[in-house]
């Protein structure tokens, strides 16, 4: 009996089985992608790795000094204090090695300090802008001066941090502030038709007292929802599609992971400060109107004489450019400049192009004024 037909059948069966190998490989690759995707969206990335030391603390606030890498004789004389928003973590300024504004500035000879407001507890629900700008910030600045040995300093305020630094600059013009940098600063609330937040928090629809009576502080999740709901599809769908599309690229995954770690690290906003933000800023535009009172004193923007760099994100949907432009007309600074950057509220400082556009400009501007 010939074994031909059997051998042929077996050979064909073998070929048929072999045809499954690439499919199996592909299936394994798909599983690997799925594992990476799941891991990235469910874990925290390693962030804020630039070496730093704690130099001051008060309540939840902490002041860090980044360990200089440039010899003292080559460093800029004027220290730089970074002030971020009170309802987000400040490590967006030091997201990950190679993509950190802090690391960039330290590497270029700046003595960099970061004020971390911390996460307010229910015991901090009465903290107002008055406390942040006139109790905490001046104390942190005193420590910056003591540690650096310099009587003059530069302040960089980003988002709500820019409101705080502006208030401070206007209230304490003789404190030694040489350079004031405002990043995506929500200062002018007059063009309400351009401000989605202003519409949402209008007195007709939004009862701020009822929210604060229920929660004490404004919950981080609600703030996060508010920010994401401005572009719901982009934030809730497209963002994850982008991760899936690039899940085989370790570089892209690392960047996405770090940013997602920051985006999902929500903290509440002190109740009284939130009330002020809605009533004094969004509804009454008090700072620009010149009617804002902090610790019983009127905040007068014309008192600001420090050199001013106003960085505006042209594609900012959280703080549209119209909110940051008017400040230049109100201050008395002889040296003032607007720098417009293509990009969004966070992207201009933490996006993949920030090290080519925003950071070098800030560094160049500040270097020329930090001798």
């Amino acid at each position: 009996m010939s074994g031909g037909p059997v051998r042929a059948t077996l050979a064909r069966m073998g070929e048929f089985m072999e045809s499954f190998v690439p499919l199996e490989e592909q299936s394994l690759a798909f599983q690997k992608r799925l594992r990476t995707f799941t891991k990235v969206i469910t874990t925290k990335a390693r962030i804020a790795q630039t070496p730093k030391e704690l130099v001051w603390a008060l309540n939840k606030a902490k002041l860090y000094r980044y360990v200089p890498v440039v010899p003292a004789r080559s460093r800029h004389r004027v220290p730089l204090l970074l002030v971020f928003a009170i309802m987000n973590r400040p490590y967006i300024l030091d997201l990950r090695p190679g993509h950190s504004f802090v690391e960039f500035m330290v590497g270029r000879g700046f003595d960099v300090y970061l004020l971390d407001w911390g996460s307010p507890g229910i015991e901090d629900k009465n903290m107002k802008f008055d406390d942040y700008a006139m109790e905490y910030l001046p104390r942190a600045i005193r420590k910056v001066k003591a540690v650096s040995g310099s009587e003059v300093f530069s302040l960089l305020g980003w988002c709500i941090g820019a409101i705080l630094t502006t208030i401070y600059a206007a209230m304490r013009p003789d404190d030694g502030l040489r350079n004031l940098l405002l990043l995506t600063a929500p200062l002018d609330f007059s063009k309400r038709e351009n401000l989605t937040f202003a519409r949402w928090t209008d007195a007709k629809y939004f009862d701020v007292e009822k929210v604060l009576a229920a929660f004490g502080n404004m919950p981080g999740e609600m703030i996060d929802y508010g920010a994401k709901a401005l572009r719901p599809i982009d934030n809730y769908v497209t963002n994850y599609c982008k991760l899936w599309d690039n899940v085989d690229s370790p570089r892209a995954v690392e960047a996405w992971h770090a940013m997602n770690t920051w985006v999902t690290d929500n903290i509440p906003m002190a109740g009284a400060a939130y009330r002020q933000l809605i009533l004094d800023f969004y509804r009454n535009n008090s700072l620009m109107a010149g009617t804002l009172h902090i610790q019983g004193q009127r905040v007068e923007l014309r008192n600001i004489e420090a050199n001013l760099l106003d960085v505006i994100a042209e594609g900012d949907h959280i703080t549209p450019p119209c909110q940051s432009e008017a400040i230049l007309e109100k201050v008395s600074s002889a040296d003032k400049e607007i720098f417009r950057v293509p990009g969004g509220h966070i992207g201009i400082m933490a996006g993949s192009g920030a090290h080519k556009t925003t950071w070098p400009h800030i560094e160049k501007w500040l270097s020329a004024r930090s001798f």
């Binding site: 592909q26 629900k125 104390r139 005193r142 007709k204 009822k210 229920a214 401005l230």
Partner: protein, 136 residues
Amino acid sequence: MPETKENGAKPFDPFEPFRGMRDAYLDAMSKAMIDAVNTEGYAQTTGAMLDYFLTASAPVRESLEKAMTQALVQLSLPSRQEVAALAERFTNVEMRLDDLDAKIDRILKAMATPRETPIAEKRVNPVRPAAKSKKA
């Protein structure tokens, strides 16, 4: 664009054929949603939903808070408000300590700063302590 494998072949992705269609759809949806959330209607609806939630949950929150306070009193434990008040007092103490720290810094700085007046000038014009001055 997704990266490819070293041999140039794209890894298996069952969603690949739909990607272009998906992106176009998401783009259109995104624009529509941005417009939608930027309307008075959306503001009114979300405001009403939040208000309803807060109103509906208020009695539950209040009764829970009352029950919790009573339980803590029975167990001789401090209430949330008492702990918060204590934390506020700690912060005030911290602030006073910070003020003291600032004063000490100023004193140390003043002590470390060399006096500007030359010694010879001081001898010419000595300042007498008030206690030793004689009155007529």
